[in-house]
């Protein structure tokens, strides 16, 4: 049972294994610090990129402005599809950039999510109306069909009615060139 050569060998092996928990703990701390200083991107992107726009038909948000359906895309011209709402604060921030894109000749279609005509009218009066058509998605069902996880979001739809790019969050001035580039590529 007792082997005279065994205890020293055991002791030598233990001398380095004793540091193993500390090393593992150190690795864990490094991992936590990494996550703390470089948090993961929490945006949920649509999985529908490069797929055709889901079919939908939405009534007009405002009586004097046309509604929107998926048929309005795929007419040979790339378009922006902007998902917005009058109750959404970042939508006010991106309004000047949308106006700039509209002035540059980009067709912009809108979907107003969980909104009311009076509130929407006031919003457009204050921040401008860059939209050719605005569809009313009062239940948010079309927003879900598009794989959109919030407002505002902007999709680049190509000339054949395919989703090419999704911009999550408000469009800041620095995002405009990228959107123009994506629109050009979507021809």
């Amino acid at each position: 049972m007792t082997d005279p050569s065994a205890p020293p060998a055991n002791a030598r092996r233990r001398s380095w294994t004793i540091w193993l928990p500390l090393v593992l703990f150190g690795a864990f701390i490094v991992l936590v610090l990494f996550g703390l200083f470089r948090p993961a991107d929490r945006n949920v992107a649509s999985a529908l990129i490069d797929r055709p726009l889901p079919e939908f038909t939405l009534p007009a948000s405002l009586p004097d402005h046309p509604g929107l359906s998926s048929q309005d895309f795929a007419d040979g011209q790339p378009k922006l599809l902007n998902i917005f709402a009058s109750w959404c604060l970042p939508c006010k921030v991106e309004a000047p950039q949308l106006a700039q894109l509209a002035a540059a000749g980009v067709p912009i279609e809108g979907i107003s999510v969980r909104d009311r005509p009076e509130a929407l009218r006031a919003f457009l009066a204050e921040h401008g109306n860059p939209y050719d058509r605005i569809g009313a998605d009062d239940s948010g069902a079309v927003q879900l069909a598009l794989g959109s996880s919030g407002v505002p979001e902007t999709y680049v739809i190509d000339a054949k009615g395919r989703i090419r790019y999704q911009h999550i969050g408000d469009i800041r001035p620095e995002h405009v060139p990228l959107l123009l580039e994506k629109l050009e590529a979507a021809r």
């Binding site: 709402a85 969980r114 909104d115 239940s139 948010g140 069902a141 879900l144 996880s149 919030g150």
Partner: protein
């Protein structure tokens, strides 16, 4: 006295003021209304507990007050009422938002180690314990 009244007035103003949050103007019909069929509502509830709110990502859509969670609850209830299977609704959402939207993990080429690792660890523990017990008997 006037100071106390003034303080109370300020407190009441803040308590009554909803503008600090983003208030939606309308919502889906079944966001906060249960289905009349109790069995279908239970089915919808079970599914809603396992779907992630896309805005408040730590919460299920059953728990969340976010506007989009209301739309998702209504979508679940309307589809259950129309006779759709809960797993079909889950797949429909995963197709649009990816696996992240579901709290019920699936076994895929990416996730199989999550399921295999506990089994491997239990097997390793059984092996180590067996050796140890055997040594103890000697």
């Amino acid at each position: 006295m006037t100071r106390l009244r003034c303080f109370l007035l300020v407190v009441m103003m803040f308590a009554a003021h909803p503008a600090l949050t983003q208030e939606m103007e309308s919502t889906a019909p079944f966001a906060n209304q249960q289905l009349s069929d109790a069995r279908q509502e239970a089915e919808a509830q079970a599914l809603m507990q396992t779907l992630r709110c896309l805005q408040c990502q730590g919460q299920s859509i059953a728990d969340s007050d976010a506007p989009i969670a209301g739309s998702m609850r209504s979508l679940v209830r309307e589809r259950i009422a129309a006779g759709e299977e809960p797993e079909a609704i889950r797949s429909w959402l995963i197709e649009r938002y990816g696996d992240y939207v579901s709290y019920a993990p699936r076994v895929t080429t990416l996730t199989w180690p999550l399921f295999a690792l506990p089994l491997a660890l239990v097997a390793l523990a059984a092996f180590l314990l067996r050796n140890r017990f055997r040594r103890g008997q000697e």
